[in-house]
């Protein structure tokens, strides 16, 4: 389901462009609206959430898809923690659906998926690990790298149990917007993957925006 937001970028209290291959790690307060814009289209924003009050509570892909009874994320999806609590809810979306089964790329999984020679290519997990190292005040480490959301990414599942990485359903300027239900730490890796169509073989910037609650 597509649903446009009523909020305008001009009224955002925060805006930041995040280049591909970089991370963005910030706290979003309960009630604030958080948007990720696929500025140039077909990008993948690999995203994790932690409770700011207790960062040992993290976003859980398995709990989220099971509780909504659907593998795809979209408007109305509550993003659930491993404690079963709603961390955020998707309130606007001009893409249609987002993936949370494909996980983040890593140098090691790249060796399996593509070739052992690809092991030194930049990957989302490297960005995550740098983010955790440079933001030690959150107290997070590799063990907290749970399975993430891939906003803007299209990973269709077939009734026979197949799974593919398909060309994106997103496009330039499309966005997804969510309302924080608790204070959350947001960790995004703007995916640097050069080996598959999740970002059209062409990693591009995203923009994040935050609005205060109305």
């Amino acid at each position: 389901m597509l649903k446009e937001s009523t909020l305008t970028p001009a009224s955002a209290i925060y805006r930041q462009v995040v280049p591909a291959g970089d991370y963005w790690m910030h706290t979003v307060k309960a009630g604030q609206i958080f948007r990720i814009v696929d500025s140039e289209g077909n990008q993948a924003a690999d995203t994790l959430f932690y409770s700011a009050a207790d960062p040992s509570e993290h976003y859980s892909a398995a709990d989220t898809i099971r509780e909504q009874g659907n593998v795809y994320l979209g408007v109305g999806t509550k993003l659930i923690s491993q404690d079963g609590k709603a961390m955020l809810e998707i309130v606007a979306d001009t893409v249609g659906r987002h993936d949370t089964l494909g996980g983040a790329c890593a140098t090691e999984s790249n060796t399996v998926r593509y070739a052992l020679e690809k092991k030194t290519m930049h990957a989302c997990r490297d960005s995550y690990l740098l983010a955790l190292a440079e933001n030690g005040h959150f107290g997070l480490s590799k063990r907290d790298l749970a399975h993430n959301i891939n906003f803007f990414m299209n990973v269709p599942i077939t009734p026979e149990g197949g799974l593919t990485f398909a060309d994106g359903v997103s496009g330039p300027g499309r966005y997804v917007e969510m309302r924080a239900e608790m204070d959350v730490i947001v960790l995004i890796s703007n995916c640097p993957q050069l080996n598959n169509p999740c970002n059209g073989y062409n990693p591009t910037p995203i923009e994040v925006m935050v609005w205060d609650k109305a």
Binding site: S56, E57, H58, S60, A61, A62, D63, I65, R66, G69, N70, V71, Y72, Q82, D83, G84, R97, L101, G102, G103, A104, A106, T107, E108, S109, N110, T111, V112, R113, A115, L116, R125, K142, R143, D144, L145, A146, H147, V155, I157, T158, P159, G161, G162, L163, T164, F165
Partner: protein, 242 residues
């Protein structure tokens, strides 16, 4: 696979854990039909290396697990291969029951009142077993649910199959590296049964045959050949037999 080295029964709604060495096979047998075995895997030499369901699925372009599939760690290595499977579909996307979920669906039976008949849940089971090795709630990942099938319709909606596994159905995991295995026999979180399902399994330890170049799992997908190569390099680095 040679003779059974050890076997035991886990009653329904229970949990256990063990470290399985490379070259050991673990056979799980559904004794009555309708069993569910939740499982998580870690490298005992580096607990930060753990079973990664997204990598496992995307590396093999599959949503279900069956014979030929390998279970990958987040480090591009194979914990174990599914060398036998009479079931055909195992879930690794739907997670665990929690205490709250069990209370809502089936009603809680406390230990005080019901002793061994209490209604244990998968989440707490993993916390208990993981805790024995220093693992906690931060370390929980998407687990496997052996014997359980959840299909996905074109619109993405999930459907639990209540007759996926029958009495006597089985699968065998061949361990390709030393692995800490956490497991429980609590119900699948989407099981709609009216009563808390309490399904026992038998598990057997066997000595696996040497993995040949033309091994079914190794050649099941080109990615698995590279996964096995990552394992070979890992064991070389450890100074062991590659």
């Amino acid at each position: 696979m040679s003779g059974v080295l050890y076997e035991d029964v886990l009653p329904g709604g229970k949990h256990w854990s063990m470290v399985l060495k490379r070259g050991v096979a673990l056979k799980l047998i559904d004794k009555e039909g309708g069993a569910n075995v939740g499982m998580l895997l870690y490298n005992p030499a580096n607990l930060l290396e753990r079973y990664n369901a997204p990598d496992t699925l995307k590396c093999q372009h599959t949503f279900k697990l069956t014979r030929g599939n390998c279970l990958y760690s987040d480090m591009g290595r194979i914990f174990c291969s599914i060398v036998e499977d009479s079931v055909g579909w195992h879930d690794t996307a739907c997670g665990n029951t929690t205490k709250a979920m069990v209370a809502k669906r089936w009603g809680l039976k406390s230990y005080q009142d019901h002793r061994n008949g209490w209604t244990q849940n998968g989440h707490d089971s993993f916390l208990v077993e993981g805790g024995k090795y220093g693992l906690g709630r931060r370390d929980l990942a998407a687990n496997v649910n052996w014997f359980s099938k959840v299909a996905v319709a074109d619109d993405g909606s999930l459907a639990f199959d209540p007759v996926n596994s029958k009495a006597g159905d089985y699968l065998t995991l061949r361990f390709e590296m030393d692995t800490l295995v956490l497991l429980h026999t609590c119900p699948h979180p989407l099981n709609p049964a009216a009563e808390y399902p309490r399904k026992p399994i038998m598990y057997q330890l066997l000595k696996a045959e040497k993995v040949m170049e033309d091994d079914y799992c190794r050649t099941y997908r080109p990615e698995n050949g590279r996964g096995f190569e990552n394992n070979r390099i890992y064991h070389l680095c450890c100074g062991g037999e590659a």
